[in-house]
Symmetry: C2
Subunit: 351 residues, 2 copies
Amino acid sequence: MLFDQLLKQTGEWLRGTGPEADIVICCRLRLARNVQGFRFISRMDADERTACEQQIRSVILQQRIVPEDRYVSLHETAPLDRKLLVERHLISKEHEDSKHPRGVAIDRDEQTSIMVNEEDHVRLQVFQSGLQLRAAHKVANALDDLLARGLDFAFSPQLGYLTACPTNVGTGLRASVMLHLPALVLTRHIEKVFQAVSKLNLAVRGLHGEGTEASGHFYQISNQVTLGRSDADILANIEQVIPTIVSYERKAREELLRRDRLRMEDRVWRAYGMLRTARIISSEESLMLLSALRMGHHLGILPDIDLQTINELFLNTQPGHLQKLAAHEMEALERDARRAEYIRRKLDGKS
Amino acid sequence: MLFDQLLKQTGEWLRGTGPEADIVICCRLRLARNVQGFRFISRMDADERTACEQQIRSVILQQRIVPEDRYVSLHETAPLDRKLLVERHLISKEHEDSKHPRGVAIDRDEQTSIMVNEEDHVRLQVFQSGLQLRAAHKVANALDDLLARGLDFAFSPQLGYLTACPTNVGTGLRASVMLHLPALVLTRHIEKVFQAVSKLNLAVRGLHGEGTEASGHFYQISNQVTLGRSDADILANIEQVIPTIVSYERKAREELLRRDRLRMEDRVWRAYGMLRTARIISSEESLMLLSALRMGHHLGILPDIDLQTINELFLNTQPGHLQKLAAHEMEALERDARRAEYIRRKLDGKS
């Protein structure tokens, strides 16, 4: 039921709206919290883990954060469904793969998800389409307050919130912004941007977070420091740098168009041609081609394709989504053929 | 006038008909002849060259081999028009580039051309679409006889016809067959074929003859030996090997389809997608993509595109043709953009 519903929408992070949506895909705020009286997850035995999950789950339901059918017990969930949640950024890869009792609460718009028994007892995250860090922070705070009504979070007056990994101690906050930076890659200015970013103690990661490649020219920029700083400081630090990167990317796009419009059109149209005709296509290749399409859309090169279609293609061509839509598991080649077929039908307006 | 007429047709060599036309593009027979009383071209002074050309030209017209408006004095012809003739295989690259008085007679169907003052005084060539070496030979012989009515060809009873380069002495005959062998390239069997061919003293060359690359998987196979052998022997030697190569290529295509139909379809459809959408395309790339289209057409993968369209694209996307069609000379980038536009319009059925 829940999974069928999910397949019918793209979720908050891919809504494609909000400020600077041509370049800023979404903002994401994450808070790490642990419940006093329980040890950290890695130290727990099986019974403790069960008890911990049960307690947090019951608070989530009591506080009506989500209705019961939107709390997923992941240890009772099929692997393909768990993969679907990862591809929708609703749970982490680690949360998909671990074995112990654990869950996730997902709201109707996929704007918020609360992972239970991940690295910390509670990991709540809030997405906001476009550049809206403050709005996301407000929602995260409200959610944090709701949870705190039923849970006593481990907090040290000196250090702040206590977390399983020392890198999260303090605010427990990670704020990140997902950016689409194809023109900075094409003009080879992306490395300079990263150097500037790292001087501000910010980290640059790929599409799926820590340790992943920047597939499709998508990058996530987030704070590294959580200790000894307020939430406001952390947000201000990111808010200071993102508009600069956005303006660099926009200038790079304009410059590419001015200097070599034909080559840009060629790049975008060829991507479209490939997507319209290929019979076998890997997820990596489709991501790159869709990235070109997305840029083309925002530059007015491909006026007939709406952003909603491109976003649905981004989401649904991922391996888990493809298999879920086909209602069976598939080997790599079958997936690549099914992906090509799905894309062709979608771009033909047939599905 | 002549050049405008040429632009409206594809000529005999690209007609796409005749036996084994899915693999054998055409046969070409070339006879090298020199006129007694004149020195070889390289030894001549300017006056002799003029006299030689005049004499041969007048015989061609006297014998009504072509009407006057189809004899082209190349030293009075614009560079772009000369390039057009090379791209249509009607004159050699050397004949395009040299400076002295020289010409070419071209019949209405572009089945025959007679180069005057090329490496030899007379180089006559006959094209026949598909695998029809004997038919081409018959036409070449008839033409040779017509010329011999007015010209006394240098002939030694011991050696045969005398030619400027010793490699042509004897029959002066070069018979070649142009093949389209994409599947043998894809299955990596092409080298084995070449080894077998070279053991029979046959040469393998690219699309535009000696020293050119095998662009678009097109290969020309021709005899190397002209001395001490009869025309019949030379033709028999080639006729013995071509059907074998044709059957290898056909088997390779069948095997590729049987083993990996999807990947073949992918290759052909992607080529089509590129041609339909690219905004900049080099002649080398378009040749490769059209090669895939041609194979796809013959395998029934692209049923809606007729061979005539593919052949016109092969011919008209060459640099000279493109510029001639646009009626002005162009730099490389402008050509590549114009080529892409021409292909798109053609495949859209708009030109």
